[in-house]
């Protein structure tokens, strides 16, 4: 639990206490001091708390723990621990090419102007579909995976630019005419996870 969340919780409790005073004695708003108190307790503080709470939830929703707290996604989290060099999510996660605490978000956000907002809208859609049982089985992306997420990190990186095999396709990859996943095609594979060994970081000498 962060200091930010504790501060928000404390401020919310103080605000609720002030509101309690006003609800018990609404006639106190007859004085100037009472009116200022009402403005603070019924508008300024709740407004700040809503903004602060939205920010906290927004950041919290980017964490790997958040995504994996949903049972539907747990096998996808399991796929991060597969011991196979060509397994795309696992090799990124295990080699710290993506932050471990934001593993899902880093590869599944689209890096556009309103990408973060779109992610949250998609997240609400996930919950909605899961709640009403209309989610596809197995889970599928709403749209084909875009190269933009890969190129956000790899474009301009020596390991990508100097690979001779990338050279003929570089422009097409950039325009999204060819998908990175055409070659890097071992992704999550949740239906076949039992065929792969797991990486145990504790067992590393």
């Amino acid at each position: 639990m962060t200091g930010y969340a504790i501060s928000l919780g404390f401020l919310a409790v103080v605000t609720i206490a002030l509101i309690g005073l006003l609800v018990r004695r609404p006639e106190s708003t007859g004085t100037l001091g009472g009116r200022i108190l009402a403005f603070l307790a019924l508008f300024v503080l709740p407004g700040l708390l809503l903004l602060g709470g939205a920010g906290r939830h927004y950041e919290q929703a980017k964490t790997t723990r958040f995504c994996l707290s949903c049972h539907v996604i747990q096998p996808y989290g399991e796929s991060l621990h597969v011991d196979h060099a060509r397994f795309l999510p696992a090799s990124h996660y295990q080699n710290k090419r993506i932050p471990a605490d934001r593993a899902c978000y880093t590869c599944h956000t689209d890096y556009t102007m309103f990408g973060d907002f779109d992610d949250k809208v998609r997240g609400v859609k996930h919950v909605w579909h899961n709640f009403w049982g209309s989610a596809s089985e197995p889970v599928e992306l709403y749209e084909p995976y875009e190269n933009r997420a890969c190129l956000e990190c790899h474009h301009g990186a020596r390991s990508y630019e100097e690979q001779a095999v990338h050279a003929p396709f570089r422009a097409q990859l950039l325009r999204g005419e060819k998908s990175c996943l055409m070659c890097h095609n071992l992704v999550h594979e949740v239906s076949k996870l039992d065929r792969f060994r797991r990486w145990d970081p504790e067992a590393t000498p």
């Binding site: 928000l8 605000t15 309690g20 609800v23 709740p46 809503l50 939830h57 958040f66 707290s69 919950v127």
Partner: protein, 70 residues
């Protein structure tokens, strides 16, 4: 019997301020409860219930203040 009286609220402006306070307190209560729960349902509750109640309470407060000036 009016809704306000059934809820134990006072008539007029005082009652509207009481109702606005209750809505905001309920919204903030939900916000506090969801703040420490890292789960998609908590995000959903905050968005669809907490912020809706608190927002409605804030709007009711503003509306009450404006109406008092009429």
């Amino acid at each position: 019997m009016s809704l306000f009286r059934r809820l134990g609220l006072r008539p007029g402006l005082a009652g509207r301020l009481q109702l606005s306070g209750l809505l905001i307190a309920a919204g903030l209560g939900i916000e506090v409860a969801t703040l420490y729960w890292n789960h998609p349902v908590s995000f959903f509750l905050f968005l669809c219930l907490g912020s809706l109640l608190a927002g409605a309470g804030m709007l009711l407060y503003l509306w009450s203040v404006v109406r008092r000036g009429e």
